[in-house]
Each structure stands twice: as structure tokens, then as C-alpha cells.
Symmetry: C2
Subunit: 772 residues, 2 copies
């Protein structure tokens, strides 16, 4: 009579299901040694720890900002170099005729650059692929995808994103910043690099999952902050994705890291551009100044379109990803696909420019170049300086900072097929970095774009971006989404201006902004954090309300069809991801029904051989073992006394036994274990195979109560699933012991047991999930 879980309807790939993720444990530190250390902590020691936390957050902010600067500067220079080469070449061929050679050169150049970016990702560190946002969402949720916060991943990610952007793919460099920030945070907070085998012997207190996760939240926030110049948005992103338990002090530290990050980026870029007081680049993308003098009414069709187009994007990407999982799983195939996309992107652009011939007279740009700005500002978009000479303006408009000599050289391609004094607007939209194109669409004066051009551009870019996301390259989907939305938003604005000529209701730039918000919301389905990020990126709180409405409606519309892009990819990877609440219709399920049973228990005083055998048993991969009252004679269920983790048992095995104590008729082996042993081994605990136990030792007994967590959280077996879920989620648990009325162990609930239920179209469904 109670609804039973439906069989899972989502096709799953065996390869993905065989992946093994690691659940994080925000509560495993409660072993006896740790409790003893905590008891010793006094006020002064606590203050030292607290100061260290702030120092780490400052360092996270600074380093994240510097990495963002590095990416920005290198992309700018490499892309400039590439454009110069192509431009020289086009010049030559334009004189001689034979533009197809130019196309070939352009496509080859892009494909080669992308090839390098793809090779390092596919062969060296596959987890660096994509934006990294799904992976960081998982980490903050409590599931560690292998290698996700390693130094190697950071290096590959940074190089990969540079090469993807330089290679002209339809990608942004913003998403990967979030991943980068998280890796930086994970590294710094541990005070060592396991990859480099360097241990600075600092911050040892933070070597456990709880603390590390908090710092990774700060790193992710710093990444958002550096990417969009949105420190508050960064904090909200971290909280939305990660916070199971809101803590004021933690939030404040996260905010601090975010602020430092955007400030660092801003300062360094200002110094690099030769104007140290011009703090005008709070993020990798700045939307430019939006005035609120003109009015607009956002029609409801906007978020509707955003939601539908977003859902379409996600659905297409879903099929594509399924295809990739099935057929393109070998690294060399992945590299070839990336190269193909790069070449096609270049070719499509070229052909469209050739066909459209949408020439526009060169005119002054409306982009407010932020030059004068104040020393207090990190998010400033300031007053425009004296405008550049008209002839050079579109350049700046197209390709970055006028200070760089290479920019002034890269103009010609955009004049393609147009008379002197005119420029090709299709080329403008297509050959820019997507960031610049977005800003142009927001700020170009009315009449800069031909509707036909924009329509074609939207269409082509939509499919290109969709094809690109999920390639084995490091790249983000934020900017392409914004660009698609800005394009159709502006198109809409232009159409409206035909209806209401000259009316202030029809500034196409504002519609571009709303379109961008709608499209991005329709694809990623973030809510509060995205509203604030967009608000901060426009630098104007006025836009908060319409952006919120647009994002909310786009999310509702999009959710009607298909999930958000990140959630979709998380689900495709079979990650046991815990949502905010248990499915509403799951109240009829109880702990008894969802728990894993029978569960391997250890006795309080256990034979060493038994422990080793249990750990070596590859058929079971339990990570936590309830410790029960020693009762060597029966195998019955017994009273719960504690919980011990696989990692703790392994560390126990690493330390040579100190004393063999003869007690009663038991050979009791004692080990003098220190908290430092746990901390040194964290987080890469060796496998049990590396521990050698002699036959003599196997026969000894070990008293586990010295190392176990003596007070694990438990639930009665009649507790409903939502109740178990809430406890598990709120406290960030990894194991929850299920007991009966007499406190005897009857089962164990792990993340996978809770994450597998979801509310499908026809009721409760059960997902297949990967091992953890």
C-alpha cells in the first residue's frame, strides 16, 4: 500500500558506475585522540587557530586573484599573437586572392592550440575537463571526485582554459576560476603538497575533512569573486552549494577571501595595464556601466524564452554527453573531437562572415571604458575617459585594451568584405573573445547590429556552445550562455524598437542584459547567487529585481522540461549527491528500509587478524565499522559502543606496535598513536595491502575503544527517511548507525542510501549510483 521505489529509468553507463567516489566526512574527527586534544585547547590556543584561519583565507584570496590575473594576461597576449599571425596572413591573401587559405590557416591554428589543451586534459588529468563547477558542487556536497583538488589538476586547468580560449572555442574562462580557487584553498589550508612531497609543517590542525571543506568553500567563493567581480555572489554561491550548516564566522571568512580575491585581481591588472590607481577590473568579465536613466519593461516572454532555450540546450547536451560516454571515451578520440569543434567553430565563423556582409559604419563606441576610479573601489565601473579616436574605436570595442600595440593591428579581419570606414558586424560578434562580445551586445548603441546577423549568430553560437560543453577541454559555459542570451535579447530589443521607434522602452542593450540573464538561468538554474552575481557584475543594484524575476521564471520554465546543466552532469556521473531535502513523498520510507544491512561490526576488543581480514576483504568496501560490546562467544547483534573508520584502522596499522600486554588470557597489543599520525596520513590513506601484519600479531587483541568515536550519531530504525536525511545533511555525516530499541546495531545508512531516491514523474524513483 505504500509507494515503492520505481526501478531506475535513466540509462547508465557501466564505466561510470564503476567509478569510485570518496564521501567526505565532516564528523570523523571525533575519535578519542582528537577529543583529548580538544579538551586541552584553551582560549589562547583557540585564538591562534582562529588567526590562522583568517591568514589562510587571505592567502586563498590573494592566490586566486593572482591565478585569475595570470589567465587573463596570458590569454590576452597569446590571443594577440595569434591574431597578428592570422592578420598578416589574411592581408597577404586578400591582396593575392585565395581567402580559403586564410580560412585553412585560421582553422588549423585554432585546432592546434585546442589540441594541446585537449591533450593535457585527456591524457594527464581528465578531471580538469569542463568548468569544474559540477565537481566543486559535489565536493561541497560531500563527495570527493578523485584528484579534484590536487595541484596537478590546477596546473592542467589553468593551462587548459588558456588554450581553449586562445583556440577560439565558444567557451569562457570564468567557470574554471571556481575550480581553481577551490584547489588553491584545499592546498593552502593543508600547509603541504602531497604531489610535490613538500610538507611545510603548518596548518596541521586543519588536516581533516570538516576544516578542509570550509576552506574549499572560501576558495570557490574567491573564484566566483575573481571571475565576475562579485564577492557577495561568491559567498552566496558557496552557501547555496555547500552550507549544510550556516556559521556566521565561517561566512564572514568566506566573504573576506572573496573580497581579497577581487581586490587582488583588480590591483594587479591595473598595475599591469600601467595605471595602478585605475581599479576597474574587479572580475575577469565586467558588464560595463549600466545607467538607470532609461526605462524598460521586461515582457514575460523573456524568461520564457530563456527557460525553453536553456532546457533545449541542456537536452541537446544531455544526448551529446550520452553519446560521448558511449562512443568517445578514449582519450585520442576526445582530442580529435575537440580539434574538430575548434576547426568547425572557425569555419562557421568564416563562412557566416562571408555570407552575411553586414557592414556598419564605424562609430563611437558606447562602452564605458572604466579608467577613472577610486582607490577604495574594487567593484568600480567608473566614468568613461576621453574617447579614443573614432577610427580605432571599434578595435578597442572588439579586442581589448587599447594600450596593447597588438590590438591596433588586429583590426583588418573585421573589415572583411566591407568598405573602408565600415566594419563587419558579424565578424565583430564572431571573432571576439566571448567576454568582449557580451559587453558589446550590452552597450553598443542602437543600430550597431543587423537583425539578420544577430539571428544567424544566435543560432550558430547556440549549437556551437552546446557542442563545446562537455569536450575534453577546460572551459566554462557561463560566458557562452550569456552571449547567446545577449544576442537573442538584443534581437528582441531591436524588433521592439521597430514597433516603438525612438521610445526609451527599447534600448536593445538592456534587453540584451535580460536575455543574457534568462539564458544563463535557463541553463544553469542557479537562483539567489546568480541574481547577486549578475547584480554585482552590472555594478548596479537597480537591476536586482528584474534579474531576479527573469531568473526565477526561467528556472521554473526550464525545470518543467529538464534539469539544470550542472545537476544533469552530476547525475550522469552517478554521483551520490544529496539535495536539500528528501523527496516529499518519501515519508513512508523508514531507516529500516533504506539502510544497508547486515553491517560488519567490530568488537571493542578485537583480534588483529579479524580487523586485517575485514579491511582486506575486497567484496565489502565499508568505510566505517560500528564497534559493539565485546562478546566473543556469540555472533548476535550487540550494543553499540562506538564507530571506527577504515582510515583510522589503517593508521593504526601503520604505527608499529609498542607493547604487548598480557592481560587475563588475552594478548593485548597496544599502539602509541598520536593525532599527528592521522594528520600526516590524511587525506591519502594507504591501502590495507601496504600494511604487513605478522602471524603472531594477528593473534593479538587490540582495544579499539582507545581510537574509536565513542559517541556516533544514531537513528532508531523506525525513523522516517526525511528525518534521517535531515540529520545526515545538517551535520554532514558519512555514516549513520541505525539501532533498535535496545541500542543494538541493525544497519548503517550511508550517503548512497539516501541519495538514490528522487522524485520522478511517476513518483519515487531509485537511481543507480557509483560506489563511494
Amino acid at each position: 500500500e505504500l509507494p515503492r521505489p520505481y526501478p531506475n529509468e535513466i540509462p547508465h553507463n557501466e564505466k561510470l558506475l564503476s567509478l569510485k567516489y570518496e564521501s567526505l566526512d565532516y564528523d570523523n574527527s571525533e575519535n578519542q585522540l582528537f577529543l583529548e586534544e580538544e579538551r586541552r585547547i584553551n582560549h589562547a590556543a583557540f585564538r591562534t587557530v582562529e588567526i590562522k584561519r583568517w591568514v589562510i583565507c587571505a592567502m586563498i584570496g590573494i592566490l586566486t586573484g593572482l591565478v585569475a590575473c595570470f589567465i587573463d594576461i596570458v590569454v590576452e597576449n597569446l590571443a594577440g599573437l595569434k591574431y597578428r599571425v592570422v592578420k598578416d596572413n589574411i592581408d597577404k591573401f586578400t591582396e593575392k586572392g585565395g581567402l580559403s587559405f586564410s580560412l585553412l590557416l585560421w582553422a588549423t591554428l585554432n585546432a592546434s592550440v585546442v589540441m594541446v589543451g585537449s591533450v593535457i586534459v585527456a591524457f594527464v588529468e581528465p578531471v580538469a575537463a569542463g568548468s569544474g563547477i559540477p565537481q566543486i558542487k559535489c565536493y561541497l556536497n560531500g563527495v570527493k571526485i578523485p584528484h579534484v583538488v590536487r595541484l596537478k589538476t590546477l596546473v592542467i586547468k589553468v593551462c587548459g582554459v588558456i588554450l581553449s580560449v586562445v583556440g577560439g572555442l565558444a567557451v569562457g574562462k570564468e567557470g574554471p576560476m571556481i575550480h581553481s580557487g577551490a584547489v588553491i584553498a584545499a592546498g593552502i589550508s593543508q600547509g603541504r603538497s602531497t604531489s610535490l612531497k613538500r610538507d611545510f609543517k603548518i596548518f596541521e590542525y586543519f588536516r581533516r575533512d570538516t576544516e578542509k571543506r570550509d576552506f574549499v568553500s572560501a576558495g570557490a567563493a574567491a573564484g566566483v569573486s575573481a571571475a565576475f567581480g562579485a564577492p557577495v555572489g561568491g559567498v552566496l554561491f558557496s552557501l547555496e552549494e555547500g552550507a549544510s550548516f550556516w556559521n556566521q564566522f565561517l561566512t564572514w571568512r568566506i566573504f573576506f577571501a572573496s573580497m581579497i580575491s577581487t581586490f587582488t585581481l583588480n590591483s594587479v591588472l591595473s598595475v599591469y595595464h600601467g595605471n595602478p590607481w585605475d581599479l576597474s577590473s574587479p572580475g575577469l568579465i565586467n558588464f560595463g556601466r549600466f545607467d538607470n536613466e532609461t526605462c524598460m519593461l521586461t515582457p514575460p516572454s523573456f524568461p520564457l524564452t530563456g527557460g525553453i532555450l536553456g532546457a533545449l540546450f541542456n537536452a541537446l547536451n544531455y544526448w551529446l554527453t550520452m553519446f560521448r560516454i558511449r562512443y568517445i571515451h578514449r582519450p585520442c578520440l576526445q582530442v580529435i573531437e575537440a580539434m574538430l569543434v575548434a576547426a568547425v567553430t572557425a569555419a562557421v565563423g568564416f563562412v557566416m562572415i562571408y555570407c552575411s556582409r553586414d557592414c556598419q559604419p564605424i562609430q563611437g563606441s558606447s562602452v564605458a571604458y572604466p579608467l577613472q576610479c577610486c582607490g577604495i573601489g574594487v567593484l568600480a565601473v567608473c566614468s568613461p575617459p576621453t574617447s579614443a579616436p573614432t577610427g580605432e574605436q571599434p578595435l578597442a570595442l572588439l579586442w581589448g585594451s587599447p594600450q596593447l600595440p597588438l590590438v591596433t593591428l588586429s583590426f583588418l579581419p573585421f573589415q572583411l568584405f566591407c568598405a573602408d570606414g565600415e566594419y563587419n558586424s558579424m565578424a565583430t560578434a564572431f571573432f571576439n573573445t566571448p567576454e568582449k562580445s557580451v559587453v558589446n551586445l550590452f552597450h553598443d548603441p542602437p543600430g550597431s547590429y543587423n537583425p539578420m546577423t544577430l539571428g544567424m549568430f544566435t543560432l550558430m553560437y547556440f549549437f556551437l556552445a552546446c557542442w563545446t560543453y562537455g569536450l575534453t577541454v577546460s572551459a566554462g559555459v557561463f560566458i557562452p550562455s550569456l552571449l547567446i542570451g545577449a544576442a537573442w535579447g538584443r534581437l528582441f530589443g531591436i524588433s521592439l524598437s521597430y514597433l516603438a521607434k525612438g521610445s526609451i522602452w527599447a534600448d536593445p542593450g538592456k534587453y540584451a542584459l535580460m536575455g543574457a540573464a534568462a539564458q544563463l538561468g535557463g541553463i544553469v538554474r542557479m537562483t539567489l547567487s546568480l541574481t547577486v552575481i549578475m547584480m554585482e557584475a552590472t555594478g548596479n543594484v537597480t537591476y536586482g529585481f528584474p534579474i531576479m524575476l527573469v531568473l526565477m521564471t526561467a528556472k521554473i520554465v526550464g525545470d518543467y522540461f529538464v534539469e539544470g546543466l550542472y545537476d544533469m552532469h552530476i547525475q550522469l556521473q552517478s554521483v551520490p549527491f544529496l539535495h536539500w531535502e528528501a523527496p516529499v513523498t518519501s515519508h513512508s520510507l523508514t531507516a529500516r528500509e533504506v539502510m544497508s544491512t547486515p553491517v560488519t561490526c567490530l568488537r571493542r576488543i578485537e583480534r588483529v587478524g579479524t580487523v586485517v581480514d575485514i579491511l582486506s576483504d575486497t567484496s565489502s568496501n565499508h568505510n566505517g565499522f560500528p564497534v559493539v560490546e565485546s562478546n566473543p562467544n556469540t555472533t548476535q547483534v550487540a550494543g553499540l559502543r562506538g564507530l571506527i573508520l577504515r582510515s583510522q584502522l589503517i593508521v593504526l596499522g601503520l604505527v608499529p606496535p609498542q607493547v604487548f600486554v598480557e592481560r587475563a588470557n588475552l594478548n593485548l597489543v597496544q599502539r602509541r598513536l598520536k593525532l599527528k599520525d592521522f594528520r600526516d596520513a590524511y587525506p591519502r590513506f594507504p591501502p590495507i595491502q601496504s600494511i604487513h601484519v605478522s602471524q603472531d600479531e594477528r593473534e593479538c587483541m587490540i582495544d579499539l575503544s582507545e581510537f574509536m568515536n565513542p559517541t556516533p550519531y544514531t537513528v532508531p530504525q523506525e525513523a522516517s527517511l526525511p528525518r534521517v536525511f535531515k540529520l545526515f545533511r545538517a551535520l554532514g555525516l558519512r555514516h549513520l548507525v541505525v539501532v533498535n530499541n535496545h541500542n543494538e546495531v541493525v544497519g548503517m545508512v550511508t550517503r548512497k542510501d539516501l541519495a538514490r531516491y528522487r522524485l520522478g514523474k511517476e513518483g519515487l524513483e531509485e537511481l543507480s549510483l557509483a560506489q563511494t
Copy 2:
């Protein structure tokens, strides 16, 4: 060897300690009836509930916005009327001589208005006194101060704040908006008013603490949003104070309510001022437009001063509050004190104006009057319109909207003792509503204020505001704090401009803003939310970073001396307030040491008489009773089976018994209880005295397992205090049963057991707390 709690060193008032607060329970709904209903809930029913939640949030936003409008409009009109009367009078006496009569009239008028405001608060609803923020903090934390969310409180609050502001006290109308929003939310979400005895029979699903608390969070956020035009700040305020468990959907709804609230206020005020499209009043106070063209470097002395002055303010207010608790606890004394303060405030202003004679030539105002604005904007501070004629400018500058005829009449007082074409800047600073004065200090051009005037003003206003806070009137401390800070900030800016004449580093308005932030931060010690509120009120994200730095440092400096104002008042009221974490040095305490024991248990099948006796026993005031295995023969500790609340037992008694069942040798009384019975009785459960049980019935047995919560949360007795604390806080519990290894009840942890520890100067201290 383990640190033991120190005796409490804080003197406490017996009267306050005898207050009885009510703990809220975010988990009490888990009785069998509720579980059965939840099991029946299907997808469609869930969707209906979800839609209702959104509708309620929209209504909360709209009503909160309307209440803010009401306050704003009534204050404007009443104050205008008062000024007209006084002005006419001063005109008369200025001609005749005898200004002391004017002073007398002015002081009497103010005192009478304040008297009315004070009388309604002191005699009708004392909980409406003050800003209400401490009370709402307590509510969100889980402690309900009696009457705090009643309709009567709202009415008194709104009238009280209008009268306080009109009475010329050094108060703001912003703080009370938060309380008002919370009451509105609590009322609407229940779909009835117990005071008015109207039950609309809607929203019955939400009649329990968990749901109500969520809506109150939204209401508080809507209040902040209406007060400061800061929807994101409002959300963060609610989260900072209330969220034990962050939930994405809840946050999104809170944000929605906030946005609706500021939008409603903005629309209605715009229509009222006759310009429906001029959406320029997102909040009750708007800081005006801050440009970021000029630069400033905030010296570290700023937050230092803010922190120290804030601490001084709090310390003075602490002594004053102690004095009031001891000696001014009779309502008529309280009214007299309020009248005295009103008269003194008027007199001090008059004398200072008379003595200072700081005449400034009338010049164009720098206040950017927001007139042109866009239909999408709710937070807009837009471009200045054509400036008003010079002669009238200071008027607008001093006393509100130029549209109102009464404003143009109220100019003369400010010309006091000055020649024609000049105005008295002390009068300007003193006789304005504090909101206007703050904006003036931010935006008046350099040279508008004489340093001497500002210094005197800061000094006097500091003491007046300090004296005023804690009076038995409805009033907020936000605006006075901002005003004090703006005054000394501007003073600092002026001093600096003497040093660096004409430099852009010395725009005194910017320093006023930073001073205001520092002072407010030093007094209230809010962190992230205050940063965002200030950022949104300035309408410019650029100021986020310096404001954050200033607030952070002011908080650190202030915390060194004394607590924040709200926390101080909460502690003075002996409220069992749970902070974010247990004191760090409390790891050596375990559940066994903090729990209440012995605990009154009920048996699963219990004699009705025993239940009634336990409930009637006035010496114990338990609110939850563990239900243990029936074992009528022994009085030993027994296995835990469930938890039943006092309120559930009382509802059980309200329903006439249906069936007497003869089972074995027990007379079992059965009651056909519905969930509706609980919902109808919520939240004002009758006392046990109102339930009459016959002698026959007393001898019957009742099966409690049909109504109890069958799976209460438990902790083992060895669990450390921080662990117990975390569980309690994260899940929002009211009762936590402590069990031994055999699942037998050994004690109970309630809020009071956890809240009484705090980290003092000399280690762990124990507070005396009121009953809950």
C-alpha cells in the same frame, strides 16, 4: 583538572529572571498523526503547499511594504503639522521677543506626543518597546518572548514608532520595520488572528513552529528590505540570525518576499508623491547617490573610533538599562522618563542652536534628488532633476519632499539667529528627521558645516541617542547610530581637508559614510548582512570593500570591550540564546554534566491520573516527557520509546474520550484525535487547569504511543557539549533525550542547559537564565 564553570558574575534582576519565555520547537511535529498525514502527501498536494508558501511570501512582502508606507506618510504629515504649529508660534514670539516661550511650546509639544507613544507601549504592550530586533533575533534563534508576534504588538509598534519620530526623539523608524514584518508574517502564515478571534481556515498546514519560523524569517527580511531598500541584505540578516539549516528553497522565498516588499514601498510612495513612474524610494531611508569618481583612503583610525565609540555607547546603555531594570520598572515612571527625554532633546537642540550661531549662506544642495527613474528599478537612485530654486533648496534639504506644501512653510526655524539668505547649520543638523540629517551629512558640499557645530552636535547627539535607546517607546537605533557616525566622520573629513586643501582625498561626505558604517558596526556588531545593507543603501557596489573592512575592524575593536547592543539586551533579559557554536573550551563537558536529571518519564501505557498530576505539578515545568517502556512494577530507568510534549498531552485532554476499551485487565481510554485538534490549539495551548478529568477517568489507562513522537533524537551521555550543541542547533531542537548504552533515559538536555555556558574573561562561565 578539567575547567569547571565559573559562577556567574553578571548581576541579574530577579524580576527578569522570573520571566518565562517559550522555546520554539522545530521538530515537535513528528507525532504519529503528523507522520500519518505526511505519508499521505502526494506530489500534487505537495505542489499546492509549495504554491501556498509562495503566495504567503508575496502577501508578507506586500503588507510589510504597505505598513512601511503608512509609517512614512503618517510621520511626514504629522511632523509637518507639528512644525507648522511651532513655526507660527516662533514667528509670533520672534517679533515680540520671548523665545523661551517657543522653547517651552516646542518641548511641551514633543513631550506630549512622546507621552502618548510611551503610554500605549508601557500600559498596553510593553514588548513593543525598542526596535524589536533583539526580540526577533530571539524568535529566529528559537525563543519566543511572550506576545512578540501578536497583532496587538504590531498595532502598538506602528503607532509607537510614528509618535516617537514625530516627538522628535533621537530615534529611527527603520528597526521597528523588522519587527513589524515579522509580526505580519506570523499572522498571515497562520491564516487567522487569535486576538481578533477570526479563523480564515486557510494555511492550516503551516500551524506549527517550524513553518511559522520560516515565514517569520521572510517577514524580518521583508522588513529590512523595506527599511533600507536592501533585499539581499534582508535575506542575509534573516540567515545570519535565524538559519540553523540553510535551505535553498526557503532562501529563495525569503528573497522573493524581500523584493516584493521594497517594490511595494517604492511603488506606493511614488504614487503618493504623484509620480508613479519615479521609483526612487526603495527604502524608508535612502542614502542618495554616491559617485565613485573621487577617491578616498579610509584611515584605520576610522573603524577604531567606531569600535571604541560603539563600545562606549553600549557600556553607557548597559548601565542605564541596569538602572532602569532596578528603578524604573513601573509603567508611569517609564512614561515620565520618556517625556523627560523628549523635553530634554528639544531643549538641548534649542540651546545649542542659540549658542552656536553657525550661519551658512544658502547654496544649492548636492543631494541627488532621485526623480527620473526606470520602471524596472526598485533600488534606483537616479539622476538629479532640474535643481530647485536656490532659495527653497535648503528646505528640501532639511525637511523632505518639495511636493508637500507644508514643507515650504517649515523653513523659518532654521534661519534662527541668522541673517536673511543664510541658514543655521546647527538647526539643520538638529531639527531634521535623523534620516534627512544623515543624507545631508553624506551629500552636502564641502563647507556646509562648521567643525565646531559638528563636534558639539556629535557629542550631544551621542548622549541623547544613548539615553533614548531602551526607553519605553517604539524606536530604532540604526539611524541615530548612522547619524552620530556620519557627524564625526564628516568632522574627520573636514579636518583632513584642512590638511590637504582641495585634494580629492578629502570629500567629507565619503568620510561621513565611512564614519556612519563604523559607528553602526561598533554598536550593533552585525557583519555580512550589515555590509550588504549599507552597500545596497548606497546603491553602489563599489563601497562594499571599504565598508566591509570598516565593519570588520569596528566589530573586532568593539568586541574587545563589550558585546553588541542587541546581544547585550538579550543577555540582560536572561534569554537562553544559543550562539553559533558552543564555547571552544567546553569540550571537556559532556552531556551527562549539562543535562537535567532526573527527568520525569511517562510510561507507554499510562494512567490518566498520573499524566494529569504531572502536568498540574507547578514545581516542574517540563515541556517534553520521554515515554518509556511500560513496566508498571518498577520505577527503574527504562528503555526510551518516544517523546511526548506537554502541548500534545493537553490537546489530548481537550478532546472528549471516545471509547473505553476493556483490554486484559486495563481500562484503556481511547481518544479520536485529529491533526486538526493540534492545529486549532496552536500556538496558545490552554493550561492544564482548564481540563477537567473525572475520577473514573483518572483510573483509566491511555496508550501514549498513538500520539508521541516515536523517534526522538537522542545523544549518549558521554557526548561532548559541542557535539550536543551542534545537534541541537543544527536541527532546531527543544528537547534532546540523553540515553545510556542500553537506550535507557538518564536525562534531558534543553535549550537552557546549553545556553548557560559562555566564554568569559577567565574561562567558562555559567549564566543565570530565565525559565523557558
